[in-house]
């Protein structure tokens, strides 16, 4: 009967990011969502609880406005939530997020399994999971497709480029999961309405240990642009021959 902590991130829904006419990114009308990969993580946690018993606590580090994210997470099945919020938590770096989560888990919670998504939908640095495992000093398996629990062990099937590695880890342990772990449910009406009735512990900066400085600093962000000189050709045979000749010269014909 493992007590599971599942971590999620409330991210900008990239479908709402627009480009201005000058090609810059426009965030003025963005909406937020639970990072897609973290929806898989929540689903995995809830299915494990349903299969083995125990409990699921959803946890996030975010800005205070992310209350909707907490409700969204709870509507997907967890029993309760820990919401660590501060206005300065908008652009945390992976190492800081992991440090905050780790500090809270160590000092206030007892759990046998921590589940994270493989990466977040915005930065996709894929670091919080493995960093958190190091901070907690527990074994970790990343990019996991399947989880089973066998006594005090977690059996995880993790994906590598050419093979799948099945590992057994003593609990407590941490896994990060791939979407293959299971399609997230679509919460029903009652699930959403009941979510706000589930217990939520809200923690602020004052409840936390000192947050480390980010060593990775973002010094610029721009819309990605491709600049290629497009040489145009027409349909007449001579032009087509010229086109094939150009391909030849670029060395891409085999």
């Amino acid at each position: 009967m493992p007590d599971i902590v599942v971590c999620f991130k409330w991210v900008v829904d990239e479908a709402y990011i627009r480009r201005t006419s000058s090609g810059d990114l426009d965030f003025t009308s963005v909406d937020y969502k639970i990072s897609e990969y973290d929806r898989n993580a929540i689903e995995a946690a809830v299915r494990l609880r349903d299969a083995y018993g125990g409990s699921v606590t959803a946890m996030t580090v975010s800005v205070p406005e992310a209350t909707k994210g907490i409700k969204d997470a709870l509507s997907r099945g967890p029993d309760n939530a820990v919401f660590i919020a501060d206005p300065s938590f908008r652009d945390l770096e992976s190492s800081q997020t992991a440090a905050i989560l780790g500090g809270v888990i160590k000092s206030r919670m007892s759990c046998q399994l921590v589940i994270c998504g493989e990466g977040s939908g915005d930065f996709y640095a894929q670091q919080v999971g493995p960093r958190l495992a190091e901070i907690l000093g527990i074994p970790c398996a990343t990019y996991v497709q399947k989880i089973t629990i066998d006594g005090g062990q977690v059996i995880a099937e993790r994906k590598a480029e050419d093979f799948v590695e099945v590992v057994a880890m003593p609990m407590p342990a941490l896994v990060t999961v791939l979407p293959d772990i299971g399609t997230p449910r679509i919460p029903g009406v009652k699930d959403t309405l009941m979510a706000s009735k589930k217990p939520v512990v809200t923690l602020g900066k004052g409840d936390l240990e000192r947050i480390p400085e980010a060593s990775l600093k973002t010094v610029g962000m721009k819309a990605s642009r491709m600049e290629r000189e497009c040489e145009k050709f027409t349909v007449d045979t001579a032009d087509i021959a010229r086109f094939v000749g150009a391909l030849q010269r670029k060395g891409v014909l085999r």
Partner: protein, 379 residues
């Protein structure tokens, strides 16, 4: 004033949108083409609690408000107007009438399976000679001891062929005028109740529409919904609720028309630039977006009034009138924006245009709405 939906309403909108994209979009063209009722889809809707949103949980519903129901009907209609409508009439009229006027036993016996989505409801009022003019109805319920015996033919009944529970309106005392009409809850399979001719429609084709015929149909008096003579009042209350649903359905159609028009006009290049950059097209889209916003506000306002337990009859009629006419107007424009491609079967805008027309007709024609509204403001 607060124009912001609650967090729950926003989340429910996202969830039903995701549900519709996954389960409704892929079949919408097919069920339109084949006039098929997608039972498998309604099973999934029932599982998520989408078939009884504003009904209290003690009667099998989800216990949300009426505005949430409108949002869900809108999002479903954005994918498939027939699906949105089927939910709308089932919840907005069949379930709501039993909730408002049924006794405890009726709520347990009939409302609970309806709100759970295990049963489907139908609203049985219109007759061949009685549309807007409800008083021209001829179906009679003659009292016979502990029973009423119904005779008559109802027509254009949505969910007619597949309903489990019919809410039926007929005269118990024709001479008493408006006070002589009563309403009954009649389960399917009651001897003498028979769905009649099935109609093939221009639009809204996967919604099942038929006649419902009563021939010496004996109904025990405990199936009377509300007191004898309350039928007309019940019907009008049903219309008020139903109209919010049709408004929401129209908003969904309008949103879909806008979605399709924006997508196509950005892709389609004519005379050297995407047609979205041609003023003739971009202005059509501007008008469409503006009317969509107005339509949505009217609809949500009517639903909000209902949730606040304030009078909403006039606002529901205004919303229905405006939303339906704008849906029709702009789906025609959406087809125009698509040019020849919009006239081909399989183009979503073609279906939207056919589906939009009915919103100006059923649950009170636009003319009937103007009667309600003018009656209200000229009082």
């Amino acid at each position: 004033m607060n124009f912001k939906l609650s967090e729950e309403q926003e989340l429910i909108r996202k969830n039903i949108r995701e549900f519709a994209e996954k389960n409704v979009d892929p079949i919408a063209a097919e069920i339109d083409e084949k006039e098929r009722h997608p039972a498998e889809l309604f099973k999934k809707l029932a599982e998520g609690g989408w078939m009884g949103i504003p009904i209290p949980t003690q009667y099998g519903g989800s216990g949300a408000d009426y505005l949430t129901n409108a949002i869900v009907v809108e999002e479903l209609s954005r994918s498939c107007a027939s699906t949105g409508f089927t939910v709308s009439i089932h919840v907005g009229i069949a379930c709501m009438l039993i909730l408002l006027f049924g006794n405890e036993e009726q709520k347990k016996k009939y409302l609970t399976p309806l709100a759970r989505g295990e049963h489907m409801g139908a609203f049985v009022l219109t007759e061949p000679g009685a549309g807007t003019d409800v008083m021209a109805a001829t179906t009679m319920a003659a009292k016979d001891g502990e029973f009423y015996v119904l005779n008559g033919t109802k027509t254009f009944i949505s969910n007619g062929p597949l309903a489990d529970t019919y809410i039926v309106f007929c005269w118990t005392d024709k001479a008493a005028g408006r006070k002589g009409m009563s309403s009954f809850i009649i389960p399917k399979g009651t001897p003498g109740l028979k769905p009649g001719e099935h109609f093939h429609k221009m639009g809204l084709r996967s919604s099942q529409t038929s006649e419902v015929v009563f021939k010496d149909c004996r109904v025990p008096k405990e199936n009377l919904l509300g007191p004898e003579g309350a039928g007309m009042m019940n019907a009008m209350t049903g219309f008020d609720h139903g109209r919010v649903g049709i408004s929401a359905q129209s908003v969904g159609i309008l949103q879909a028309a806008l979605d399709e028009s924006i997508k196509y006009s950005k892709e389609r290049v004519q005379m050297g630039s995407p047609i979205a950059r041609h003023q003739a097209i971009s202005w059509m889209i501007a008008d469409m977006a503006t009317d969509l916003s107005a339509a949505r506000f009217l609809t949500y306002h009517a639903a909000w009034l209902k949730d606040q337990k304030l009078p909403f009859s006039k606002e529901a009629a205004m919303a229905k009138l405006f939303c339906a006419e704008k849906a029709m107007h702009h789906t025609i424009k959406a087809v125009q924006i698509h040019g020849g491609y919009g006239y081909i079967k399989g183009a979503k805008v073609e279906r939207l245009m056919r589906d939009a027309k009915i919103t100006e007709i059923y649950e009170g024609t636009s003319e009937a709405q103007r009667m309600v509204i003018s009656g209200n403001v000229l009082r």
